[in-house]
Symmetry: C3
């Protein structure tokens, strides 16, 4: 039920150091650490002998020694020592995962390392452009399936009802949503012209008269969302492509499915205003925390409800265009992985020492 051949975020770069850290993604346990060369590595967190998580062991240089009987693995997953015997059998290894760090974010390719494709790594120019201020926020933990969380991030229609005091207001309740697809990115968007500013932009942009407001929800399959939203004074009459002229914010959501019922949403934001202003970043964090906890409450309630026996099929509405396209694309990707059998490496992923 997970797409394995994709990059998932294990954390911000600052979260990884010398110590062994257990990270769970797609129902698999990984042990991750930063080697002496500065690279972050990820191994299967399970000793092949008695199954103890290697994260319970200790580092010996760049290797890990199991905490039970001392079997030692290098960061390619090869066993380099078995106390009490000289030969190392070919079955003595742990799987490894490809890790790439970019823009201070640690990505892991959860499928076969042979197919790890850096061209598919998420990036956007604003992440490394001095005219924009990027700020890493929190990890929101949701007891919810990642598909429901992702669906919520390609669904502009919920904003008026879930976030009435922060990101939305009544003016947008009936405004229709457009949906389009470009390769592995879906986009759902709408403009609300000549309406009162929402709470977020009253507080942050300082708008007191009517604004033109936009919401563009980009969903990079399978689980990274960029929400481009902003406001500009209605009298400025900006065109759709001139969004940089207004106060423009990108909210990024990196969803990591922990297991079927648990998702971590690591979020950050990028803005074209208040560059270098840490107080503004903190205020924005505070506003986002309120809004994202509103999502969390809804999504966790739905998760519980979905686990009950269902007597009727859910109904579909006009506003479901974005989520419906998303679900279809995910189904296609899952089917493709099954038929191409890329999900599991056929051979150990290291050369034996």
């Amino acid at each position: 039920m997970f797409i394995k051949n994709a990059w998932y975020v294990a954390g911000w770069s600052s979260e990884f150091g010398d110590e062994l850290r257990r990270v769970t993604m797609l129902n698999e346990h990984l042990v991750m650490y930063r080697t002496s060369s500065g690279d972050v590595v990820a191994l299967e967190d399970r000793c092949p002998h008695r199954l103890l998580p290697l994260s319970k062991g200790k580092r010996m240089g760049d290797d890990i020694q199991c905490g039970y009987h001392g079997m030692t693995f290098n960061c390619s997953g090869a066993c380099v020592r078995i106390p009490g015997q000289d030969n190392v059998p070919s079955t003595a290894y742990v799987n490894t995962f490809t890790v790439v760090e970019r823009n201070q974010i640690v990505f892991v390719w959860m499928g076969d390392p042979c197919h790890a494709d850096e061209s598919k790594l998420f990036d956007m120019p604003e992440l490394s452009d001095a005219n924009w201020h990027a700020h890493q926020g929190d990890a929101l933990h949701l007891q919810a399936n990642y598909l429901n969380v992702a669906e919520n991030l390609v669904d502009p229609a919920h904003v008026s009802f879930v976030h009435p005091t922060t990101l939305g207001n009544a003016a947008s309740e009936n405004v229709p949503v457009h949906v389009d697809t470009k390769g592995d990115v879906l986009v759902a968007w709408r403009w609300i012209r000549d309406a009162e500013a929402v709470g977020f932009f009253k507080k942050f942009g300082g708008f007191t008269s009517n604004v033109d407001r936009w919401h563009y929800y980009y969903l990079h399959l399978p689980s990274i969302a960029v929400i481009d939203f902003g406001s500009a004074d209605t009298t400025a009459k900006i065109a759709e492509k001139e969004r940089d002229k207004g106060v423009r914010i990108f909210a990024l959501h990196f969803l990591t499915p922990v297991n079927e019922h648990y998702t971590i949403d690591r979020w950050m934001h990028i803005r074209n205003a208040a560059i270098g202003d840490d107080t503004a970043s903190e205020q924005m964090d505070a506003m986002f925390r309120i809004a994202f906890n509103e999502d969390k409450e809804i999504l966790e309630a739905i998760e519980e409800q979905e686990r009950l026996p269902q007597k009727r099929k859910p109904i579909r509405l006009a506003i479901d265009k974005g989520p419906a396209v998303y679900r279809r694309r995910i189904r296609d990707l899952l089917e493709q992985e099954t038929t191409e059998d890329l999900g599991e490496p056929l051979h150990p992923t290291f050369v034996h020492h």
Copy 2:
């Protein structure tokens, strides 16, 4: 495993006001509230779109607006608004349940509203008779199947052992129990003549010399019990039908099965003494709380034990007459519901707007 075509208590009238309240009965989630006309209504607590409980939404007049995308339902269960679209499909509705309030108690008919039968509502004249003092007590939450809780309420034999300091004493240990059935009411009873008063009546009736004591356990199928118990000075030599001459108390138990392993017992009491005396009500509450928690401890321990694998069939005793008749009647009612297929409404229960 539940009898659907019956009235169950959702709470005392004082518990229902403007706010949306989630109530779970027979493993179904309801959202309940009091409309502007003063009526309490109950709807299926599940939006047909993305399944969010409607109780997470908000009231718009007498309607409920879903907290996720704003679908709005009136108190007949009909959808009156879908933001972003004009047409309302026929599948856009929620089920409703028939609610009746009587004697300051809110009853819900959990079966098909077409079969809701007010003639089957529980009532007794003492609930609205100025010569009697009625007092609503607490909701006792038990991690136990309702059949075990109900069985305990048609079982006078447990009183000597479970409640030795409050409702029973050793004098009644070997007194035989009579059982009879009148329509949908079972009754199990016994008299203990010329014996020491039990703790409850020493404290409440002030008896110091020997009394005649009675216990009548009336069980209104499927899950409402009235325990008529009292004491009179033995020298008064009262007949069985003259119980009003003694200190007489009715303890009422309205059992609501929440799910297979969880039951709420809302209890109240009615008495022919200390009319209008609130201190006496409080003292009685305190004594009942002790006694009912003794039941709770036993019933929850049995629930745990019943979940274990069983190597031997439980044995039946002479004192099981009441419980045995009760179980048989419940089995008959369940079978009747299955064969008559009254359990589920065949069609939506509202006329589309």
Copy 3:
């Protein structure tokens, strides 16, 4: 999955008195108490009527009265009273278990009492020899299957890695392990000659120069372990059989499987030094607590890991000799019980009164 025809420890003698105590072993609930004659008895903790644990009832002399309806059982499991009726049906009994107390330890035979075999009771002369100091420690509760806990007690190789500061050190990492079997006892052992003393013996034996150190792990099937370990000055050149010449300690572990995922390890120790010195006992307890909690952390992590879906079979190493023999012997014993059908008594185990 449990061997029933064996003695398991229910507790130290000091833990059993007048009060009814629920004890769970091999997934069965027992009620245990000490009778007026001083004997500890164990009955099935389940009234055959409504299944209430008898431990929720009360003692009537040496009998137990059920807390629900007063059925009363003597300490042979026979029913001696049913309130409300005169006849006692043949099905009114509870099973009993054979209990033996020896060396201040309470043992229960969990199989058919007809096969209870006192010759199989665990004993060792040092438990009652004035030249040795025996001290009862704690009950360590582990969320782990008993086989994994027992395996750890016939596995000298883990000591260097799990207990590097207390019971082991790096000197023993590569020393090979010997394994042998004598009847129902396995032994795995090794000597580390002419090496630095481990933390335990530095602190307790006061060794500052090099020592000869031994570890003998005796596992009495199915679940009692004696670890004979000690140190002697290397210059003394003691032979393997002369261990009494050094500082010698026996750590005893009585494993009681509570259920498939939960084991109690009651441990005690016996030593040939500091006889009668309670402070030394306390210091030793403190050191053992540190070491045994190190085991607990490992074993509970393995338990969690074993519950996950496994893609690969665990690999076996040279150091697994002891555990491998243990697993094979347990398998044989389980198979023997199944084919001989000794596990369940065919008839009630008492003579009806």
